[in-house]
Symmetry: C3
Subunit: 286 residues, 3 copies
C-alpha cells in the first residue's frame, strides 16, 4: 500500500469571451494516488487532489458585524456555512475496491452514463467552457458506482447520495469497445427528469471521429455533438460542433507534444452564447 504524488500544471493566455478580453491563466494541481492489495488479491485504492475542499466537515460562523438587522448586536451569528468535506459530501475524492467481481467506487464519482459514454473531444488549454460537453444529469455526492468489464463489454451502475424525500439519481450504462470503434449507451433517472445518452467513436488511421446524442426528458430539443481528432506527427488537431438545443457552436484546436510531459495547446470556441473565446499555452504533467 503506497501513495504516489503526481501533478499537472498549465500556463497561458485565455479570452473567455467575457468583458475582460485576454487574460493570463495558470493552474497547478497535485493528485495523490493510493494503491494497495489485500492478502486475498483484491485491489483497493483512493485518489484525492490537494485542492480538495478543505476541512473535515467543520463549519464557519458568519457573524453580522455590521448589524444589518439593526438589533444592535454585532457579534450575532446569522448563519453557519460548511467549510469542507464531510463523510457524506465528498469533493474530488474517490475510494475504490476491485477484483473479479468488478470495481466498486465511492466519493466524487459521476453517473454511470457520464463515466461510460462521456463526451466528444474538446479543445484548448483550459477547455474553454467545455462547450463540447452536452451535459449529464449528474448526482449528489457521496455517490457509488459499480463497473464490470467482460471482454469488449463494460457495464456500469451508479447511485447518488441518499436523502430522505429525494429520489437519488440512478444511472446505468453499457459500452462495447472493439479495436477501432466503440458504441455506448447511458441512462440517468433523476428526481423528476431523465436522460438517454448515446455515443459512438471510430478511428480511421490518423482520424478519430466521435458523436454523442443526448435526449433529456425535460428539454424540448435533443442535443448532439460531433468531433474529429487528426494526429499528424507530434501534433493533434481537433474540431467539434455541438448543438445544445437552444444554442449551438463549434471549436477548433491543436496540441503539439513537446515531450517529457509538456505540450503546447490552443483552441478557439465560437457559440451563440457569447463572444468568441480562445486560449493558448503550455500544459504539463508530472
Amino acid at each position: 500500500a503506497e501513495v504516489t504524488v503526481t501533478g499537472e500544471a498549465r500556463m497561458g493566455i485565455i479570452d473567455d469571451g467575457g468583458v475582460n478580453g485576454a487574460q493570463f491563466t495558470s493552474r497547478v494541481r497535485v493528485k495523490f494516488v493510493m494503491e494497495g492489495e489485500t492478502d486475498g488479491g483484491l485491489a483497493f485504492g483512493a485518489e484525492v487532489r490537494n485542492d480538495q475542499s478543505s476541512g473535515n466537515g467543520g463549519t464557519i460562523d458568519i457573524v453580522d458585524t455590521n448589524d444589518i438587522d439593526g438589533d444592535g448586536n454585532v457579534t450575532e451569528v446569522i448563519t453557519t456555512i460548511n467549510n469542507g468535506t464531510t463523510g457524506t459530501t465528498n469533493g474530488d475524492s474517490v475510494v475504490y475496491i476491485s477484483g473479479a467481481f468488478g470495481k466498486l467506487s465511492m466519493g466524487d464519482v459521476g453517473t454511470a452514463a457520464d463515466n461510460i459514454v462521456g463526451n466528444v473531444s474538446g479543445v484548448g488549454l483550459t477547455g474553454l467552457g467545455d462547450y463540447n460537453e452536452l451535459g449529464y444529469l449528474g448526482n449528489d455526492k457521496t455517490a457509488a458506482k459499480y463497473e464490470y468489464t467482460s471482454g469488449a463489454f463494460t457495464g456500469a451502475l451508479s447511485v447518488g447520495q441518499q436523502y430522505d424525500g429525494v429520489d437519488a439519481t440512478v444511472s446505468i450504462a453499457v459500452k462495447y469497445a472493439a479495436e477501432t470503434f466503440s458504441v455506448a449507451l447511458g441512462y440517468e433517472d433523476a428526481d423528476g427528469d431523465d436522460q438517454l445518452t448515446l455515443g459512438a467513436d471510430a478511428t480511421f488511421g490518423a482520424v478519430t471521429a466521435k458523436v454523442r446524442v443526448a435526449d433529456q426528458d425535460s428539454a424540448a430539443d435533443t442535443r448532439a455533438a460531433v468531433s474529429i481528432d487528426y494526429v499528424a506527427g507530434a501534433t493533434t488537431f481537433t474540431a467539434f460542433y455541438a448543438d445544445h438545443g437552444t444554442d449551438d457552436g463549434f471549436g477548433i484546436g491543436a496540441a503539439y507534444d513537446l515531450g517529457g510531459g509538456a505540450s503546447v495547446k490552443g483552441g478557439i470556441v465560437d457559440t451563440d452564447l457569447g463572444d468568441t473565446a480562445f486560449d493558448l499555452g503550455v500544459a504539463m504533467t508530472f
Copy 2:
C-alpha cells in the same frame, strides 16, 4: 530531513440515526510526516494533513448581494470570515522537537489528559459519533504539550493558547504502563471548570478491557465508559458502554483484517440521544 506521504481512506454505508436513513460515506486523507535530526542528536519533525484548513490566515468578505438590509447597496460587505490557518490558530498540524529532555510539541495538540488517558475503544467504520468518548475540556490552539517517559512512567503537561483576560486550559497527566495493564490519571483546569479523568486498561490473553471515569466540576454526574476488545484471528470484536451522565448508550462492532492495509469494519451504536446508528465498509491505510 525528509517528508513521507501517507494516506488513509474509507468507503461504506452509514445510518447516523438522523432523518436521512442509510447513506453512502467515503473519505480520503493524505498525511505528511516530516522527520529530521540535528547535528546534536535531537529529533524534530512535523505532521499536517492535506485537508488542513486552507489559506494563511486570510479572510473572505461576505457581500450582501441580495440587499437584505434594504439600503439598495448590493456590493456591501456585511461581515468578514477567517479563511484559514494563521500562525496562532493551527488546525490538524503539529510540530515537535524531542531528545533526552523529553518531547515538546506545538500546534493542534490536545490536552495532556486527552493524550495520556484517552478513551475506551470505539466501533464502526466512522466512529458513529464517537459516543465511547466521555469528552475532555480541550484547549485552544496553538497549544503546547510536553511529554517525558522514564521506564513504565509517562508524564505530560499541556497549556492552551494564551489570550489576554482568558485563563488557558492547563492539563497534567501521568500513566503507568506495564506489559499487560496500564493506569492513567489526567487533570484539566480550564477557565471556570475542571475535570479529573481516570483510565485503566488490562489485557487477558485475547481480551482487552478498558475503563474511563470523568469527573467534571460543572457537570452534575460523573461520566464513565467501559469497553471490551476480543481478538479472534483476523477479526477484532469490540463492545462499549458509556454513561454520559444525562444520557447513556452502547456500541458493538467488528473489524476484519484483509491484509495489505485494508480491513472491513462495521458497528452499531444505540444511545438515548437518537435512533440506532450503524455503519459498514472498508477502511484502508497507505
Copy 3:
C-alpha cells in the same frame, strides 16, 4: 517529469505587540516542486503549497438561517462567496518554462521589482510583521513574469492580470551582481501610482550590509531600510532599521544552525506602530 515533496515547520513563542502578550506559534507547510524537461531541452515546472486556497473556483452559498431580513424564509441564499482558486486568480502557485530565451513564469508571481530588488534582512522566527520590508505596489494574480540573466546582469519584466478598465501593474527591474556586491533597480507602474525602488548589497568578510530605498509617487516621504547580517560560526546576527515615512522602527535577531535542517531563531522588533514585538523558537526544513 517528477514531483518532489518538501516541507517547512516552526514552533515557538511570539508576542506580536498586540493585546494578548506572549502566545504560542506554530506552522507546518508542505510544498510540491514539479520539474520536467522537454525533448528540445526546455525546462518546465510548477510549485504549489498544500495550504493553497482550496477548491477550483467553486462557490459557497451563505444561507440566512436566522431570517435576519424577517421575511420568514430561513433557507434563503443571501449571498454567495468564492471558495477557492480559479484559473485566473491563483494563490501560492507558480508555473514556469525556461530555456536559452530566459524564464517565463505565471501564477502568484510578484512584480519584477519585488523579485529582483527584494528587501533588507528581517529578523525572528516569524518575521514579526516584516517591518524590514518597505512594500511594493504588487499586482493582481494571475500575473506573468519574464526573467533573463546574462553574466552578472539580470533583467525582469512583470505584468499583472488584465481586467477591462483597469491598468494592470507593469514592472521592470535590473540587477548587477558581482561576487561581493550587487545593485538593483526596480520600477512599478500601477493604476494611478508608481514606485521606484533601489537596492544594494555588499559583503565584507563575515558582514553583509543591505540598503533599500523606495520612492512611491502617492507617498509624501521616501522610504528607506538598511540591514546588517553578521555570521559568527553557526550563528547569524541580524539588525535592521526601516523608515516607512510616517513611522520608523528597528529589529535585531539571531539564528543558530542546529544542523540537519533545524535552527533556533529569535528576534525583537520595535516600531512607532505598537508595543515591542519579539519571538523565539525552532525553524525546520524538510
